[in-house]
Point group: C2
Chain length 411, copies 2
Amino acid sequence: MSILKGMRVVEGSAFVAVPLAGMTLAQMGAEVIRFDRIGGGLDSGRLPLAPSGQSLFWAGLNKGKKSIAVDMKSPEGRELITRIVTAPGDDAGLFLTNLRVRGWMDYESLSKLREDLIMVTLTGDRHGRPQVDYTVNPALGIPDITGPEGYPDPVANALPAWDLIAGNLVVSSLLAAERHRLRHGAGQDVELSLKDVAAATLGHLGMIGDAVVNEAARGKSGNALYGAYGQDFVCADGQRVMVIGLTDRQWRGLVAATGIAEEISGLERRSGRSLRDEGTRWDLRHDITAILEPWFAARRVAEFAEDFDRQGLTWSLFRTIKEAVVEDPDLSPENPMFKMMDQPGLGRFPVPSLPTSFSEMLRDDPVPAPALGEHTEEILAEVAGLDFTEIAGLFDRGVVASMTTPQGKAA
Amino acid sequence: MSILKGMRVVEGSAFVAVPLAGMTLAQMGAEVIRFDRIGGGLDSGRLPLAPSGQSLFWAGLNKGKKSIAVDMKSPEGRELITRIVTAPGDDAGLFLTNLRVRGWMDYESLSKLREDLIMVTLTGDRHGRPQVDYTVNPALGIPDITGPEGYPDPVANALPAWDLIAGNLVVSSLLAAERHRLRHGAGQDVELSLKDVAAATLGHLGMIGDAVVNEAARGKSGNALYGAYGQDFVCADGQRVMVIGLTDRQWRGLVAATGIAEEISGLERRSGRSLRDEGTRWDLRHDITAILEPWFAARRVAEFAEDFDRQGLTWSLFRTIKEAVVEDPDLSPENPMFKMMDQPGLGRFPVPSLPTSFSEMLRDDPVPAPALGEHTEEILAEVAGLDFTEIAGLFDRGVVASMTTPQGKAA
């Protein structure tokens, strides 16, 4: 049994955040129905693609969902989606979206048909305008503090971090609202925006306070760990490592393992400051790095890796994604979170399930993403409650499609 | 009323992920008790600091919590924490931690005293070894794809994205487990690791599949939007903007607003490819950028900003954090998520509440972080159920401290 077994969520979405939210709920055991327009939504062909041209991105973010393809421009199609979103069931009536279709698909219209509906809408900004991770991030200043020290231009994240954070908050907002409904019976309209999630996070990390109350602006600091000590070094074999001296214990461990205690004492004497203080380690990071650099430059990783691990140092290698996939057992089926899967049209590679393990449940294996419209008939029959003749009529009129109809994207 | 009103969560944590999880629950209305050692936990002095030396980081990540300071090395202190974690109450018995103290503070010991305890533990990796955002990220290859095209070295994120994602997943994992307990009565041991969260996310985004099935490795692409079109441009006034052509609608809008339809047609003719396809926009991004560059270089932002907004383009300015705080109303009390707060020892700046709004509830104002040990007495009396004499004894023996005792950190 999975932790959310029995819950049904409907999702009308595209891109990262809301698809990730739906997929997380699916990996927790909820039945998640994603509807798309016939031919596929805005993200159906998003990169990266497999050699077949199918989207690895789409397959990754829609694992374990059921898919229905509907012509949302037709009144009949809209009526169908309305019916699926507001279908009865104590653990149903849960709707996630970032599509922002006003009128028939907004909370006001849908909650008329199911009063206890919980609808979670993620918008771009609080005014409802579209924003993407790539616009929110520069607007809030993160690229300005990212990148090599002294590099003149802003450097954007390669990871859509705000989307990923917002998607996770969509999940907890839905679960919080559903908890309230279980106790009090009331559904609600739940809203959040990508930009607000990012803005709040800057505040939570102290960055807004820092920008207001401190004169000096936080600058770029390359690959250094902000606020304490942590730095990357190139070793004798050309490999690059990251070593951490964030906590007192980590710092003492690093000093001991590299045998630099005497040089560190010298630095403390010269500067008149104690490196037991993390902020001092930050201030004097270039001096510390100058002491450590020759140590790493003189050694191959294999010469110190075991020793670092035995002494409990916090450190890692820099890898490319390709190297990580080949070399790191944590990204392979040796990790029970991953299963090797052979997916038609995509290829064979390790696919992750939920990172969380619940002791009361066995860990579920990951379930591949559906083909577009793979569950159209099943959903029309079991959720919308239509009979065979009604379903056939919808297919005939082109209101819905399944993976076998020509409009549908092939599996 | 807040959405999680009545829930009580105990948190023993440090740094970003678990403190963020506790704070999110507090901002949703739960009573969140954070315990720390006397003098403060590992993160009590984490940068950024206010001019007073107090941590803006700590204040940001512990808003709205109650704080108790306990000597965790003493058997009496351990007994107290055990008592607080396992205190009765249908909506209590929820414990979040990343401290990994084996023995008295593990699930096995604590669940003996409260069978339906839900304990969520975040570790560094799945083996229980410490890892931080700064080590997980290079190990999985994100710095290798971050940074300017052609830049030879890896570039780390300035944002602790994995911590923030993991912290949010801690919240939803807790809520999912509590939902299960409400229905079935059973508590459980819930575990996840920072590295697994990151590894799963790479898989969800299609990056693992891409690394396995495609020969070409994803490289650095500067500030370009990966997989479609999106690019930064420097304008005549020196300001830098990000413009997006991810969806067909955004792309057509960008072409129309900048009047480059003819050049784009020319590019399509020369290349024999259609730029209506997002993957083609990605492949030909440098050609598109060469067409757009002179357009932006010839214009000040003020010349096109209104027009872009009117036409519904998705775009933004690059700012520094300091500029964003001053210029962007979304980061100010004009945004109902922010309240201007005057915090002793920290200063006056806008403080965020929960990014989610629930239609059944009024949005709660943010509540500042407590001083260390501010609620020690209250928690001992109301949660641990001790009487005045017992509490006085604990203070006398130095087992606990409050904000007024010398060991405690001043407010």
